[in-house]
Symmetry: C2
Subunit: 160 residues, 2 copies
């Protein structure tokens, strides 16, 4: 294993903030079958708005954001989708991560100046946004294996 390199540390700054109907974590749908079709918006800080040029042509976006209300991290997570077993944090979407970065795929509904109206927000209102990227291609569903999550869903559906 190579040693740590001091160049490999950077300070993250918000490029904008999320407007969402969720004011507290408990309001965000979680667990098996949770639907994420809530509408909200990304309000870009004006200084970054030139970076939105031509974004209107994309139907879906990756949004990288900060879990700004998570405090510290755990390497072992206990996700609400599986009450029976703990899992490594990198095999979950737990907010308590070594780098508190969240990732959400949203559908772009429309752009209004510095504001992107989107569907599929699962962030808290006021969440800092770190980056926006175009969503360009998908892994076909039939090629996806979803590990412990698929097992937990199956177990739940069987009532065990």
């Amino acid at each position: 294993m190579r040693s740590r390199n001091p160049r490999t540390v950077f300070t993250a700054h918000p490029i904008g903030f999320i407007r969402s109907p969720y004011r507290q974590t408990s309001a965000i749908p979680k667990g098996p079958g949770a639907q994420h079709d809530a509408e909200g918006s990304i309000e870009l800080l004006r200084e970054f708005s030139p970076g939105l040029m031509h974004i209107e042509g994309f139907s879906h976006l990756f949004v990288l954001w900060e879990f700004d209300r998570a405090d510290g991290f755990d390497l072992i997570a206990h996700p609400p989708t599986d009450e029976k077993r703990p899992h490594g944090v990198f095999a979950t979407r737990s907010p308590r991560r070594p780098n508190p970065i969240g990732l959400t795929v949203v559908e772009l509904l429309r752009r209004d100046g510095d504001t992107l109206h989107v569907r599929g927000v699962d962030m808290l209102d006021g969440t800092p946004v770190l980056d926006i990227k175009p969503y360009l291609s998908s892994i076909p569903e039939e090629k996806l294996k979803r590990g412990w999550l698929a097992e937990a869903e199956k177990s739940r559906n069987q009532g065990t």
Copy 2:
């Protein structure tokens, strides 16, 4: 627009490093039709390895990483996929981003202790890894619109 909040700044630290066949940016396939099936690995720092528990069950992972060899950012990008027009950085995958965070979907081939062998690396060798998340679902291809990129590909295919 709300004011900046001092809590919304954090310092990113590597959880591990990428091993890749690419030693320089020019070696990474880019542009229309670029294939990303190169094999490589994610070598986790030992202190974070408990976070990998049960990751073996997932076929695909999101890897968040740092563009550690990019210097500064531009809000307007000139991607190699479209020589005719500039685009906003948030509508591209340019490395010169306000927060230098990269995102790659990889296929997990196998786990060997603290090392994840993966297919689909497009990072430089030695790239710092910030986070790993399970890839859980896809947007169906027929629902995706890919804006300027689709136009540039169409234009190229028509030889215009």
